[in-house]
């Protein structure tokens, strides 16, 4: 999305970078929230329907806040809903790990454990952003992620320590997801530019801590740490999995069928 005209505070290049930054964080949250919401009514038991809906709601709420901020910075004057519902897959910036289909309950909880283990320290750092809006959203989100991580971590331990079947499922979920994690630590050029002024957070610098934390959970669960020899990324450049187009087609269907109306 280079070359976008952006207005807003200060330097025009900075506003464009800030727009992209807020947009990508919004995309991560919305796409993951959309996936989690698919569990509502399909969870293994009722309490878990409610808990997964809670996490989904936190994600979508977070997306809404990031998009509202992005909308204020948008050179094209779009509002939050237009950003969410009228961009195509190539314009979406979310991490690939967020868009993968929900799979079984083990897959969903393994993904959540990996993302939450990243999100909590990331958001705590982002809460100290020099941009007060970003900092405020991150501070609120960090509180939610603390609870998300507590939950997903407990589920990893439960499934690993439950039955042979649950143990096999959670292990294969981690194996299937591992290569999507390095993307969480990739810096876009905009993020790197915003780092100097203390707006963004150095993701790359968080990788070692994340790996240590993940390996500690896996060790506690007596699961094997997957081999880190493969990496799939591209979401930040709008290069998504084949699943992404279907997710958007479903999510955007009403807005696309009747554009420009109030709902």
């Amino acid at each position: 999305m280079t070359g976008r005209r952006a207005h807003g505070r200060g330097h025009p290049g900075r506003a464009a970078a800030l727009f992209e930054f807020a947009l990508a964080l919004g995309d991560d949250a919305l796409v993951l929230g959309q996936r989690l919401s698919e569990w509502c009514g399909n969870a293994p038991f009722l309490e878990e329907d409610l808990a997964l809906a809670n996490v989904a709601l936190d994600c979508i709420g977070r997306a809404n806040l990031f998009y509202r901020y992005a909308a204020e910075l948008d050179g094209e004057g779009r509002n939050a809903d237009q950003l969410a519902f009228l961009r195509g897959s190539r314009e979406y910036r979310n991490l690939l790990i967020c868009e993968l289909p929900i799979g079984d309950f083990a897959f969903t909880m393994a993904r959540q454990a990996m993302v939450d283990t990243f999100n909590l320290p990331y958001l705590k750092r982002l809460a100290r952003s020099t941009d007060p809006r970003i900092a405020a959203i991150a501070a609120k989100a960090a509180k939610e992620s603390r609870y998300h991580l507590q939950r997903s971590r407990e589920w990893v331990l439960r499934l690993a320590g439950g039955t042979g079947e649950s143990r096999a499922k959670i292990q294969s979920a981690f194996d299937a997801l591992w290569g999507y994690c390095p993307e969480m630590f990739e810096m876009t050029s905009g993020e790197t530019a915003l780092l100097k002024s203390g707006v963004s957070v150095d993701r790359a610098a968080m990788k070692a801590d994340w790996e240590r934390a993940m390996k500690a959970v896996l060790a506690e669960a007596a699961l094997e740490a997957p081999e880190g020899k493969w990496t799939i990324s591209g979401g930040r450049n709008g290069l998504h999995t084949e699943h992404h187009g279907y997710l958007l087609a479903e999510m955007q269907s009403v807005q696309r069928a009747w554009p420009g109306l109030e709902w």
């Binding site: 409610l50 997306a63 809404n64 309950f105």
Partner: protein
């Protein structure tokens, strides 16, 4: 169990006096077996309705047209699940287990509200469920806040508060459509045409045909008859439809000055019994979906139990 020194007839008379005096029956109180059975039937049916009701509304969570609507709908469906939980808990105070109640649902021995066997075809249907279906549920449930069984009464008080909020949200969806484009207005009218009669059916058969009504009224499990509740609902809803500029699909609907109520046409009872007996548009799908989620989640529930047992064994 407590040992009672009174005879069955004396106990039953004392029980009825307590009910007549508007004192609540609590889980440890003596109650006739039929009262207990009737309540388990009604409360579990109510719980199942909340749970199955998550499906038609959940059908639009991933497609809600704005972020705000998506959040409201997700929170709403979550509330319905929460209502299911309180109600299962209320039924558990009578000795029923959740697992048994779910099994009864899956085997078709326990019913749920037939309204949820109708499909949600457009976004306007989400507005209609909030406005009409939750509206009808509230009319029914307001009277149940004074139901004789304490835990049920308390659950209904809590549920009613949330349902009123849901009804306003549904109405607000329809206000947006009514103020929108011709296509949106047509979408709202089409949804009303499809949901009006099924909503009136929610109050059940005419009083003269209702199997459980007389006994339930005497025990104050039920406080108002099906036909009275249906009339209350029609009376409160017609002006709201006028406000929205929508036309209720009943040529016989008109204000009756003498009665001080709206007159309305006869329900298609063939359709009612078709859906109740399992042959509505979505009966099979709703149950199949619930069975599948339950079946797919079996390994998770087993894992959870196994983990807890191991933990307890380690702690011992």
């Amino acid at each position: 169990m407590t040992e009672y020194r009174l005879s069955g007839a004396e106990l039953e008379a004392a029980f009825q006096t307590r009910v007549d005096d508007e004192r609540r029956i609590e889980p440890k109180d003596w109650m006739p077996d039929a009262y207990r059975k009737n309540l388990v039937r009604q409360i579990s049916q109510h719980a199942h309705s909340e749970i199955i009701g998550m499906q038609p509304e959940g059908n639009w969570i991933t497609r809600a047209p704005t972020l705000k609507r998506k959040m409201i709908l997700l929170a709403k469906v979550q509330d319905e699940g929460g209502h299911g939980l309180y109600l299962y808990s209320a039924a558990e105070t009578l000795g029923a287990s959740r697992e048994d109640m779910i099994e009864a649902l899956h085997q078709g021995r326990a019913k749920y509200a037939s309204i949820f066997n109708y499909p949600t075809l457009t976004w306007a249907d989400i507005g209609m469920i909030g406005w009409l279906v939750d509206g009808a549920a509230i009319v029914n449930q307001i009277s149940l806040q004074r139901t004789s069984y304490g835990p049920y009464s308390r659950a209904m008080i809590r549920i009613c508060k949330e349902e009123s909020f849901h009804q306003r949200q549904g109405f607000e969806i329809l206000m947006a459509l009514a103020a929108g484009s011709e296509a949106q207005k047509a979408m709202a009218q089409d949804a009303l045409n499809r949901w009006w009669w099924p909503t009136l059916m929610m109050f059940g058969p005419h009083d003269s045909e209702s199997a459980h009504s007389a006994q339930s009224m005497q025990w104050k499990i039920k406080r108002k008859s099906n036909d009275e509740l249906r009339q209350d609902f029609v009376d409160q809803t017609v002006p709201q439809a006028d406000f929205l500029g929508l036309k209720i699909p009943d040529p016989e609907l008109r204000w009756n000055e003498d009665r001080g109520h709206y007159d309305f046409g006869e329900i298609d009872w063939d359709e009612f019994w078709t859906v109740v007996s399992g042959n509505g548009l979505c009966n099979r799908e709703r149950l199949a979906r619930h069975r599948k989620a339950h079946q797919d989640g079996k390994w998770v529930r087993e894992a959870m139990r196994a983990y807890e047992e191991k933990r307890r064994a380690r702690a011992a």
